[in-house]
């Protein structure tokens, strides 16, 4: 599970997908592709973006929700807790 999270994050396109889902949660594949092209200059094919989404989904960072005939992608930052539980952050106000 943890290895999946690190692998999923180790790719600039997948990080950009998470950035865009942070901007607006619950997007279609088409909207994600459009945002990657227009905002990030990433001309990935639909098939490539779909494969990136599969990797993110396997890591638990993206959840697919079907609503009627639509299919939306949501992001879930829950798995990122593994990082700070393994390597805790310094207490607030103590770091500099």
């Amino acid at each position: 599970m943890a290895a999946d999270v690190f692998k999923a994050l180790a790719d600039a396109t997948r990080r950009a997908i998470l950035d865009e889902l942070q901007d607006r949660d619950g997007q279609s594949l088409f909207e994600i592709c459009t945002r990657l092209t227009m905002r990030h200059g990433l001309g990935s094919t639909r098939q490539a973006v779909s494969q990136h989404l599969d990797v993110l989904e396997q890591a638990g960072l993206v959840v697919v929700r079907r609503e009627g005939r639509y299919k939306f992608h949501h992001h879930d930052t829950g798995p990122l807790r593994e990082i700070t539980s393994r390597w805790p952050l310094p207490d607030e106000g103590q770091s500099s």
Binding site: R24, Q27, S28, L29, F30, E31, T34, R35, M38, R39, R46, R69, Y70, K71, F72
Partner: protein, 133 residues
Amino acid sequence: MIRITVTSVFVDDQSKALDFYTDVLGFVLKNDIPLGGDDRWLTVVSPAAPDGVELLLEPSGHPAVGPYKAALVEDGVPATSFGVDDIQAEFERLTARGVRFVQPPTDMGPVIVATLDDTCGNLIQIAQMTAAS
């Protein structure tokens, strides 16, 4: 000189589509010609260009149309795109009319786009070009 005079979207129900495309979206009826069976040559135009490009509301009877439309809708791909002057105003007007948007107005650089459900089996994009960007 060759010109584009008609473009089309496949609609599940032509009568329902005519209501949505005229009464809700704001196009006006141009041609309504019986074609045999229940099918009609049914076109609408923009009130801004009554002699401009016609949009054909095409019957979905061919067996390939259903799977084609379903696959596009699942992935959020619009069947076509229409231009608007003020996308935020259109978004608010159409939302108040009960139109379902799967994507609210989103700034994509040279264009702001939004995607709505036409209730006839299609997603439709509306687009506002942003000034000289």
